[in-house]
């Protein structure tokens, strides 16, 4: 005999629940997370070096956590900005999950931090599926990667609150088709804004930091069409026959400092 049990539950519900709780907990302490997604080699670390320096120069307590499969090179580079930096080695795992991030923040994230930049593992596929409790998700790509990249990685670009184009100083040299790029980004994420930056010349960095600080002060972020669709699914699940098994965030002793 065999019977069928209805489940109706998002596969990533556990991560989503943990991420939501982390977002709320951090918000209660005045901290927002900025999750940075890109391919390897898009210039994420170089840009972040600049962004950290600018954010902290404006007197905003800033910290950064960088994830890589191996090596601590990025942490050493970012630490030159003078802000607290933590390196996470995923040991081969291609993405960060909310539980991992939370564990790494515990006992480390300095009290009073307003912005925590999380440099996700360089990969445009896997990290896209995992909410880390961020308030602002930024997907970056460089002009050297080709204007059709948003179409090749629709989830990464489709779920971004902000898209950042990097290495614009190379735009002419590589013959980047800006109009096609904008159309492609818009096609997977209608209404998302695109910020243009060059870590080499410093162009666009101030204005990127302005956008981040506006979110710190409570400005609304863009709501991607793809995220809205995912939310509808998650919401439907809470009415499933199995109910919503929201996970409590552990005991108070496990709370962040």
């Amino acid at each position: 005999m065999c019977r069928v049990v209805d489940v109706r539950r998002a596969v990533l519900a556990k991560n989503d629940t943990l991420a939501g709780a982390l977002r709320e907990e951090l918000a209660g302490r005045g901290t927002i997370v900025v999750n940075l997604l890109s391919s390897p080699g898009s210039g994420k670390t170089a840009l972040l070096e600049r962004v950290l320096a600018h954010t902290s120069a404006r007197g905003v307590p800033t910290a950064a956590l960088t994830a890589d499969l191996a090596t601590e090179h990025d942490a050493r580079r970012l630490a030159r900005s003078g802000v607290p930096v933590r390196q996470v080695l995923t040991g081969g795992l291609c993405h960060l999950e909310a539980a991992q991030l939370r564990a790494h923040l515990e006992g480390w994230l300095p009290a009073g931090t307003r912005v925590l930049y999380v440099e996700n593992v360089g990969n445009l596929v896997c990290p896209a599926s995992y909410d880390l409790g961020e308030t602002l998700r930024i997907t970056l790509m460089s002009v050297t990667e080709g204007e059709d990249k948003p179409l090749k990685y629709p989830t990464a670009f489709g779920l971004a609150h902000l898209v950042v184009l990097t290495k614009t100083d190379l735009e002419r040299a590589v013959g980047f088709d800006r109009a096609a790029f904008v159309r492609n980004v818009t096609g997977v994420n209608p209404g998302v804004e695109i910020a243009e930056t060059s870590a080499r010349s410093g162009e666009g960095v101030e204005s990127l930091v302005d956008r981040v600080l506006a979110v710190v002060r409570g400005a609304a972020v863009h709501r991607p069409a793809m995220a809205a669709a995912a939310h509808a699914v998650a919401h439907a699940n809470t009415h499933g026959p199995d109910g919503d098994h929201a996970l409590p965030l552990g005991d108070p002793a496990g709370r962040l400092p």
């Binding site: 005999m1 069928v4 489940v7 596969v11 990533l12 795992l93 999950e97 159309r183 994420n189």
Partner: protein, 118 residues
Amino acid sequence: MHELSIAEAIVERAAETARLHGGGRVTAVRVTVGELAGVVPDALRFSFEVARVGTALETARLVVRDVPARARCAPCGGEFAVGSPPSMWCPRCDGLSRELLGGRELEVTAIELEEASG
């Protein structure tokens, strides 16, 4: 290859449901995977075979239902397949849709349990 993490989450969820329903062997897990869920069904099937080892799902089948991504165009009112490569630009009027109707699903919809009594 985050499909392995996804497969582990599916196995965990299905095993938990099986326990809540009196235990017993899980013979199948039904999942729904949207075209824009960021999951490759073949990689998921492969990962599932690895993730199920040593669990109540050891011999379970993974039944995947694919859901195409569709959008509604506000300017012309039409519905269209977002397609691959995906585009929210309406193929009929070239208006930009901001409403995705489906295609982001990634859920365990049901499990099939063998009754413990046989």
